[in-house]
């Protein structure tokens, strides 16, 4: 673990890889040091924001005493997300991975994913731990408008777009599952640590094929 100063009100905890982030986040979130106001887990780091009277020095020593326990997370159950696999980039993903479109569906649904962290937009969970053959880069050009519920791949992650937004990920399908609901508490369905299993949903009979 390495600590980096991030201004006078935050420290960046740098870890070796994604696998260390979640256990550290769990340990930290379970008993945050006095004065910590926000924790932002990301791909290899956690940003820890604090407010006075907490000092950088006090937060630093508190962070150095965090003892993450790998695999300590209790089973929080699985979220199942039914997906219609008819995304606009399915052909491109097939070309990039060398898999047939049906094999992409099989790979995406075969193994459970875990939310590593949220970012980009409220409720946008970066899902990790899926089939490594599905690691594809972002699209060369990002789309101005990606519909809510789009299921996508990029940089070894999978994700569900919570709301309509711009986006550069490869779209492989869509779901009617609501992953961001302001009337729910918490509003995000996919939070760090949540396990996700994608299932294939039949295309609605009344819909034209995409």
């Amino acid at each position: 673990m390495r600590l980096r100063r991030c201004g006078d009100r935050a420290l960046l905890v740098e870890l070796d890889d994604l696998g260390e982030v979640l256990p550290f986040y769990d340990a930290l979130a379970a008993s945050p040091p006095e004065g910590v106001v926000d924790i932002v887990p990301a791909a290899r780091t956690l940003l820890v924001r604090f407010e006075p009277p907490a000092t950088p020095h006090a937060i630093e020593s508190a962070l150095r005493s965090v003892r993450p326990v790998p695999g300590a997370r209790g089973e929080t159950g699985e979220v199942r997300i039914p997906v219609v696999y008819d995304g606009a980039d399915l052909k491109d993903v097939a070309a990039l991975t060398g898999l047939a479109e049906r094999e992409i569906v099989a790979a995406h649904t075969a193994t459970p994913w875990t939310v590593a962290f949220c970012g980009f937009a409220p409720g946008f969970g970066y899902l990790t731990g899926g089939d490594p053959r599905l690691a594809v880069p972002r699209r060369a050009e990002s789309r101005v408008r990606v519909p809510a519920g789009s299921v996508a791949l990029a940089a070894g992650f999978s994700a569900v777009y919570p709301r309509e937004s711009p986006g550069g990920w490869q779209l492989i399908g869509r779901t009617e599952a609501v992953v961001w609901d302001l009337d729910a508490d918490p509003p995000a369905l996919l939070r760090p640590g949540t396990r996700v299993r994608f299932t294939e949903a039949a295309r609605n009979r009344h819909e034209p094929a995409a």
Partner: protein, 298 residues
């Protein structure tokens, strides 16, 4: 009678802001809130509100509001000409950083600020629009919080606080109109740049471009050279972060910055100075200076 603030005109942009919604970084939600937090706090204290009550953040003036019920108001942040027109047509100017009455039926019109960008209008009782995730702040990047007030909208005013205003007037420094000097702390990714880059950042002024908003300020000035190639795995950002994209021209993040980013942050503006950065006008120049040990924390 219900007390309401009617929006007659918004100027270039007006948002409802409070001190934001911290503590939800794990859900992908940033803090947001007033860009100049100190000014919002002061505007609230002047009318006896809790510091974090919701108020209007007015960008480059132009706001016109009408009182429904007798209101007690205060203006803070960028000073702009403020004129009240009473219900019978009488007109009188009101002061900045002072407690003022807006009688029922009167309108308040704000002209453009001479210095600074953002003016805060607080109302005793606070704006009682429905909170979203515990805050009435509008996050323009995430699309969270109250919609931008539109002409004709009636903003409800909350119940009067128990505390009475303690002062009538608060003398505070005006936003700077020459070069703005901001103190920075190097890192967290200064090692992604050439050893000279930090010196370059502090040597010459950077100009605030028109491509600036609540998300951040795009700066134009000497290029900051990277020492290493590649993409940084996305990591958490803070207000005041000076992020350097591939162009080498830095962006200074403000209240509605992206929660995470993949470009390295060479340095972070000291939190006390972020409020002053939020008042920097397009065309104004910013000089960065590495904070000395004696000024950190101030």
């Amino acid at each position: 009678m219900n007390r309401l603030l009617e929006v007659v005109a918004t100027g270039p942009m007006t948002t409802v802001q409070d001190l934001g919604r911290p503590g939800r970084g794990d859900l992908g939600v940033g803090r947001s809130g007033a860009a100049d937090r100190g000014a919002l706090r002061l505007a609230n204290r002047l009318v006896g509100n809790p510091e974090g009550a919701a108020a209007l953040e007015v960008t480059f003036g132009g706001l016109c509001v009408r009182a429904h019920g007798n209101l007690l108001i205060a203006l803070a942040g960028a000073a702009c000409p403020a004129t009240v027109t009473g219900p019978l047509g009488a007109r009188w100017p009101i002061g900045h950083h002072s407690v003022e009455r807006l009688p029922c039926g009167a309108t308040l019109q704000l002209g453009p600020p001479v210095r600074g960008v953002r003016t805060y209008l607080s109302v005793r009782g606070g704006l009682d629009v429905p909170p979203v995730l515990g805050s009435r702040a509008t996050d323009v990047l995430a699309g969270l919080g109250p919609d931008l007030p539109a002409p004709g909208e009636l903003l409800p005013v909350g119940p009067l606080p128990d505390v009475f205003p303690a002062v009538d007037l608060a003398p505070v420094p005006e936003p700077a109109d020459g070069d703005l000097v901001l103190e920075i702390l190097p890192g967290p990714r200064d090692d992604w740049f050439t050893p000279d880059a930090l010196r370059v950042l502090c040597a010459e002024p950077y100009q605030v471009t028109t491509d600036s908003n609540r998300v951040g300020i795009r700066l134009r000035g000497p290029i900051l050279e990277r020492a290493r190639e590649g993409e940084l795995p996305s990591e958490g950002m803070v207000p005041g972060a000076i992020q350097v994209p591939l162009s080498g021209q830095p962006t200074l993040f403000l209240a509605d910055h992206p929660l995470t980013g993949g470009y390295p942050v060479i340095a972070v503006v000291r939190s006390d100075d972020v409020d002053r950065a939020a008042q920097a006008r397009p065309g104004q120049r910013i000089r960065f200076r590495v904070a000395s040990a004696t000024t950190t924390p101030r």
